[in-house]
Symmetry: C2
């Protein structure tokens, strides 16, 4: 760490009073590495996700929203494993050409968003680094889960039901809105609807609690970052099965329906960035799922079944439906 | 993970035969997160370091060297804690404008360097992501150390000796060479010397084994990434002490002396990227250190003493020596 890096980190990130540092953090920010004390009875869960300006968020996105989003997409990986998040490191790359004021203002706002989210989900920043370069944020998240209870992608079996949490397609709508790909006059949605959609993009809700509940219910799970079609495809490939889904059952928000009724289905199917969970449940576990739904611990819709074969097959109104894209590709 | 990301990772990174996967990796690359089983009797050590093209390595650096260097600078953080490295994640950002061939070729070379280094230091890639954007590499390293044996920055006491491992300044010389800041005709060093210096920059030797030996000997330690003066300054600040160092004792390689006798001292003092360890040893532990040196388990030079006060004070030939920079600043 350089002197400049030190000042920045100390000022904006190392501000939590010691009283708020959990006992599992033996040594936090400021040394060559952090020292953590994991729970010996659990497996360690590790994921990393990078957000690049202009690719994973608009270049003019509010820094506070970027802080929220950077942490939430990583928390979503924990949710998809049924894990509880505990600690994270932050690798922050800031443009060299930014003047001191710009940098300080951006980092102050960014750290505000990051901290608010960390507090909400009770996870703790333990280290990382700052470097000069094109604006990007790489977070590595560490969590824990009882080893045998982890939600994996490779557990789906033929006849399992396929479900998704909450609604799909909102983030794709928000991106169209942020990129001005849909003219404001073209649609009937209110300012509140637009706010809702943008919130779904910037502050996706990691389904941590639902992931924990699903440990005993789901046969496989993963989060939807690249679009349902692509991510369910990965789950099927890992499990060596296929899926048949009924497009009429894809859950969509009222805001999405109002915003872009023509594109809603396509976005729900192939739009990325929703960070909902797609998961499978064996038939004999469906009563357990129903009970969790009735208790308000899970919010999910059945969208199809697992069959033998490969790939994801879509049906609409009883007829096969072919799709022109398998979701967002990073390259 | 997208389909493109999947192919790339599967092809170049997920190629280790299962037999080589350690038992501590319950689930590796390919799911939302990795599942690891840490040793219950040890603390977890976590560090992250990002390398940006054009900032932390020349834009035209061989990809294999970038792979080596990216892992080694992170391993150095483990060494500085006295930790043993075990697992790491990789966040790889590749330029969108690269054609498929360029990308594949770069990743193939990069992964070759990364894997060779991972094998040498017995640490295991367990996950990460690839994204589009300006070329950069962010690695998070996970290791273990008995909690009470960790080498921290805040343990130095007045009268402790200050030491550094091996030699300083070689990387700064290599950078001058790579950036053509020193004309080839100006110096007497051979091609072998130049190769040695460049190797010190691209493949710094993380001092893992020496860090382990120092657990019982050193009162504090950290690695030198930003230059001795800056990093010893951080150690002093964390320990609330000052250091007095004798510049005549800074260890320098023969290649550095031949390459740039005029700049050697300055580079040894303020040049970054050496990734040697600077550490302190209480007087009563010096016999233990001498024994470790005699056994070839430590290669270090005494360069000064810890005193009360703040900052790092340099002396040359009995007179105070003031320096115009405190080392490399990222901003």
């Amino acid at each position: 760490m350089s002197a400049g890096e030190f000042e920045l980190i100390n000022h904006y990130f190392k501000t939590a009073p010691d009283a708020l540092t959990p006992a599992t953090v033996l040594l936090g920010i400021g040394d060559d590495a952090a020292l953590l004390q994991p729970d010996a009875s659990q497996a360690l869960v590790v994921a990393a996700d990078t957000l690049v300006s202009g690719v994973h968020f608009p270049a003019d996105a509010p820094a506070q929203e970027v802080g929220q989003r950077a942490l939430r997409v990583n928390l979503s990986d924990m949710a998809a494993m049924g894990a509880v998040p505990h600690w994270f490191t932050l690798a922050l790359t800031l443009p060299k050409h930014w003047c001191d004021d710009t940098r300080r203002q951006w980092v102050a706002e960014f750290s505000r968003g990051l901290k608010a989210c960390a507090e909400q989900y009770q996870c703790h920043l333990v280290g990382g680094d700052t470097t000069s370069g094109p604006l990007s944020i790489s977070i590595q998240m560490l969590g824990q889960v009882p080893a045998n209870a982890a939600l994996r992608r490779d557990g789906a079996s033929v006849d399992d039901f396929v479900l998704v949490t909450h609604t799909l397609g909102d983030s794709a709508a928000a991106l169209a809105l942020l990129n001005n790909h849909v003219a404001a006059a073209d649609h009937a949605c209110t300012e509140a609807d637009r706010q809702y959609l943008q919130g779904r993009y910037y502050r996706p809700e990691p389904r941590i609690q639902q992931g924990i509940v699903l440990r005993d219910i789901a046969s496989s799970a993963q989060d939807i970052s690249d679009g349902l079609l692509a991510d369910l495809g990965h789950l099927c490939a890992a499990s060596d099965v296929a899926a048949e889904i009924d497009l009429a059952t894809l859950p969509q928000s009222a805001a999405l329906q109002k915003f872009a009724p023509q594109q809603a289905l396509r976005w729900a199917l192939t739009g990325g960035d929703d960070y909902e969970l797609v998961f499978t449940v064996a038939e004999h576990k469906m009563p357990l799922l129903a009970m969790a739904q009735a208790q308000g611990n899970i919010h999910a819709s059945v969208i199809g079944r697992i069959v033998s074969g490969a790939g994801v097959h879509c049906e609409l109104d009883g007829a096969p439906f072919s799709v022109d894209t398998t979701g967002y590709r990073h390259f």
